[in-house]
C-alpha cells in the first residue's frame, strides 16, 4: 500500500499545473542564482586581480621600502558568491602596517550600494525564502484537501492503514518535489563549470552539503505544512496557519533574536572603543612630550648626526608607546570581542528556534561566509602582519611603522635615477579558506538541528494524521 500511495503521490504532483508553474519558477530562480553567483565570482575575481596588480604597481614604483603602503584584499571564493552570508558586509581591503591595529575597509556595498537594499538572490535566499513558500503552496491541502474532495473517504473505504497512507504521502511528496528541485540544482552546478568557475574537490563537497541542507530544509517545511493540513479541516485555514508560521520562521524570529540578545547583553559600540583607544594613545603621547622636549644632543655633534640621534630617540619612544598601546588595545579588544561573542552566541541560540535561521547558519558555515569569516580574515591578516613586519624590519631596520615617520634622504649628485624596489620580494598574503573538515565541524550543530526538525515535523505530521477525522 505504501508503494502504491507513494507512486500515486508522485504522479499527482507531476501532473498538477501547480507543480508545472512552481517547478518552472523554481528552476528559473535556482539557475539564475547559480548564474548570477558565477558572474559575481568571476567579476569579483577580476576586480581582485586588478586591485592586487594595482597594489603591486604602486609598491613597485617606490624606491624605498620605507615608503611602501601595502594593502591586502579578501580573495573571492566561488562558494561566497553562491551563499553570500556576511562576505559582502565585511570590509575587503586592509592596509597592512608592521604594527598596530588592522581594520578592514570597503565592503561590497561601497561599490554597489543598491545590493544593500535588495540583497543578493543567492542559494540561501532561494532555499530559505522561496522554497519554503513553495513547500507551503504544495502541501497546505495535502490532507484536508483530500478530505474536502472526498478522496480520503474513498481511500479509507479500502483496506488501507493510516500509517501507510501518511507514510506514502510524506515520502511521495518529498521525493517528488525534491527530485524536481535537484534537476535545476544540477543544471546550476554544471553551469558553474561551463562559465569557468572551477571548484576544488573540497568546495564541491561543501556545495553538496549546502544543497543537502537546502533540501532538508524544504523537507521540514513540507512535513510541517502536511502536519498542519492534518490538524485542520479546511485548506484555507491550513494555508493561513502555514503562512503565519512562515512569517515567524523566516522574517520575525531571526530578527527578534538579534534584538532580544542586544537588549540582554550590552556591547559598547565601535566608536566608544575607538574613542577609548584614542584617548589612551593621546595620553601616552602627552606623557612623552616632556621627554621629547628634554632631548638634547651632546654639544659639537654634527647636525646630520643630531637628526639621526633624534630619529633613533623618537623611534624608541614610538616603539615603547606602540607596545603599551598594543597591550591596552588587546585588552580592550578582548573585552569587546568577548562581549560581542556573548551577544552573538545568545542571538544565534535564540534564532535557532527558527528552521530558517538554522539553514542560514548551516549554509553560511559550509560556504565559509558565516560570522567566522570576519575572524578568519582578520586572523589571516594579523598572521600576515607579523610576516610583513619581519620582512620590513629586514628591509628597513624598522617594522612597517605607524604614525610618526621620519625619512632622511641625501642628495645624490651622480645624476642616476634611484632604483625601484623589487615588489615581488614582498611576502604573499595567504587567506585561510574554510575546508570541508572545518566547515563540517562548524556546521554540525545546525545540520543536526535540520535533521532533528525533519524528524519532529515528519513525526508530527505522521501522528497528527493517525488521529485525523476522516469523515
Amino acid at each position: 500500500m505504501f508503494k502504491l500511495i507513494f507512486i500515486k503521490e508522485l504522479k499527482e504532483i507531476l501532473q498538477s499545473s501547480r507543480f508545472t508553474i512552481s517547478f518552472a519558477v523554481c528552476s528559473l530562480l535556482i539557475i539564475l542564482s547559480f548564474f548570477m553567483g558565477a558572474q559575481n565570482y568571476l567579476s569579483g575575481q577580476a576586480q581582485y586581480e586588478a586591485a592586487k596588480q594595482e597594489n603591486y604597481n604602486q609598491i613597485a614604483a617606490n624606491t624605498e621600502w620605507m615608503s611602501v603602503n601595502h594593502s591586502i584584499m579578501l580573495p573571492p571564493q566561488p562558494l561566497m558568491a553562491l551563499v553570500t552570508g556576511i562576505s559582502n558586509d565585511i570590509g575587503r581591503d586592509i592596509e597592512v602596517r608592521g604594527r598596530g591595529e588592522l581594520s578592514a575597509q570597503n565592503t561590497r556595498f561601497n561599490d554597489e550600494p543598491i545590493f544593500a537594499i535588495f540583497r543578493f538572490m543567492d542559494l540561501e535566499f532561494i532555499f530559505g525564502v522561496i522554497l519554503s513558500l513553495f513547500a507551503i503552496i504544495f502541501a497546505y491541502d495535502a490532507i484536508n484537501g483530500e478530505k474536502v474532495n472526498g478522496t480520503l473517504k474513498l481511500c479509507f473505504s479500502n483496506s488501507v492503514s493510516r500509517a501507510s497512507f501518511i507514510g506514502g504521502k510524506l515520502a511521495g511528496s518529498f521525493v517528488g518535489l525534491s527530485v524536481a528541485l535537484i534537476i535545476p540544482l544540477l543544471i546550476g552546478c554544471a553551469l558553474l563549470s561551463v562559465l569557468g568557475v572551477n571548484l576544488s574537490g573540497d568546495e564541491w563537497l561543501r556545495l553538496g552539503l549546502i544543497l543537502v541542507s537546502g533540501l532538508a530544509y524544504f523537507g521540514l517545511f513540507l512535513a510541517l505544512t502536511i502536519g498542519i493540513s492534518a490538524m485542520t479541516n479546511k485548506p484555507s485555514i491550513s494555508f493561513l496557519i502555514g503562512l503565519v508560521v512562515w512569517i515567524f520562521a523566516v522574517l520575525i524570529t531571526p530578527r527578534a533574536s538579534v534584538l532580544i540578545s542586544g537588549r540582554m547583553v550590552e556591547v559598547p559600540n565601535v566608536d566608544e572603543i575607538t574613542s577609548e583607544k584614542n584617548r589612551y594613545r593621546f595620553q601616552l603621547f602627552a606623557d612623552d612630550r616632556p621627554k621629547m622636549a628634554d632631548f638634547s644632543a651632546p654639544e659639537g655633534t654634527e647636525p646630520q648626526q643630531v637628526m639621526q640621534e633624534f630619529s633613533k630617540f623618537m623611534n624608541e619612544l614610538s616603539e615603547e608607546r606602540a607596545k603599551k598601546t598594543e597591550i591596552f588595545e588587546e585588552k580592550v579588544n578582548e573585552q569587546y570581542i568577548n562581549k560581542r561573542r556573548q551577544q552573538e552566541r545568545l542571538a544565534l541560540s535564540l534564532s535557532r528556534i527558527s528552521p530558517t535561521s538554522v539553514l542560514s547558519l548551516a549554509t553560511t558555515e559550509l560556504a565559509g561566509t558565516s560570522l567566522d569569516l570576519q575572524n578568519r580574515y582578520m586572523d589571516s591578516a594579523q598572521d600576515y602582519q607579523q610576516v610583513y613586519n619581519d620582512f620590513m624590519t629586514e628591509k628597513t631596520g624598522t617594522g612597517g611603522m605607524t604614525g610618526f615617520r621620519m625619512i632622511i634622504s641625501t642628495d645624490d649628485d651622480s645624476g642616476e635615477e634611484p632604483e625601484t624596489i623589487d615588489a615581488s620580494e614582498l611576502p604573499e598574503f595567504q587567506f585561510q579558506t574554510a575546508t570541508f573538515t572545518s566547515a563540517s565541524k562548524e556546521s554540525i550543530l545546525d545540520l543536526g538541528l535540520l535533521i532533528l526538525f525533519n524528524l519532529v515535523f515528519f513525526g508530527g505530521a505522521f501522528f497528527a494524521f493517525l488521529k485525523y477525522d476522516l469523515r
Binding site: I5, E12, K153, F156, S157, S161
Partner: protein, 263 residues
Amino acid sequence: METTNDTIKQAPLLEARNLTKVYEDGVKALDNLNIKVMPGEIFAMLGGNGAGKTTTINIFLDFIQPTSGNAFINGIDSNLEPLEAKKNVAFVSENVQLYPNFTAMQNIDFFVRLGGKSNYKRSDYENALIRVGLQSEAFDKKLRDFSKGMRQKCGIAIAILKNAPAILLDEPTSGLDPKAGKEFTKLIGELRDEGKAILMSTHDIFRAKEVSDHVGILNNGELVAQRTHAELKGVNLEQLYVEYMAGYMDEQESSGVLVNDLN
C-alpha cells in the same frame, strides 16, 4: 423483487447490531439501530439530514467508533478488524470527486489497486466503464473536466471492479439528472442480482421504492419504519416518509405497527 439466487442468502453481509452513536457534544446520532442486509438485497435508508444515515455508513467504514453496538461486514466487526472488514466492502459516496489531475483510467487503476485488485488489465477497466455508461472518449480525460454524473459513474466502476460482496452507497443519486439516475438504478439492480448486499442512504424516495428490497426510515437516529418491497406495493411512500419526518404519526402506532423487529 426477489433475488436470482436464494441459495446464497445465508448470513447477512452487512449488519448493524444495536448500533448507538452519541457524539461528544451529546447529540445522539444513532439509537440502537438494527439492520441486516443479506446477499442479493438492497436496503435503502431514508431520512432527513441528521437522521443518522451517513453516521451508519461511517461506522461501517470505521471512520467513527460506535458508542455501543457493532457493525459487521461479512461477519467481521468493522471496528475491531477494520482492515479485514473493508476487504469485503466497496463504497460510493454522495459526491465522487476522485483525483482531478488524473484521468479516469488512472483514477480507476489507483483505487482498484488500493482495493486489493492488482491483476486487472486496461480492457477490464474499459469494460467496467462501458458498463456504467461512460463514453470511451472520456477514458483518458482528466477528471477535472468531468461532470458530476461522469464522476459518479467512475466511482461506481471502481466499486464494481473491487468486486466486494457488500456495497455501501451514500446518497449516490444526489445531483444526478433523471437519465443518469435511471441508469444508476438499473446498475445497482444488476449488482444486486449478482448477489451483492447493498446498503444505500438516499433522499430519493421513488428510486428507493423502485429498486430496494427493504426500505427503512430513520429519524433522529432511530429506525422508525421498515418495509419490504412487497409491503410497499400500493403504499404512498412519500406520504409515509413525510409523515414520519414531520412526526405526525402517533409514536405508538408507528412503533407497534410499522416497525419490523429485525431481531
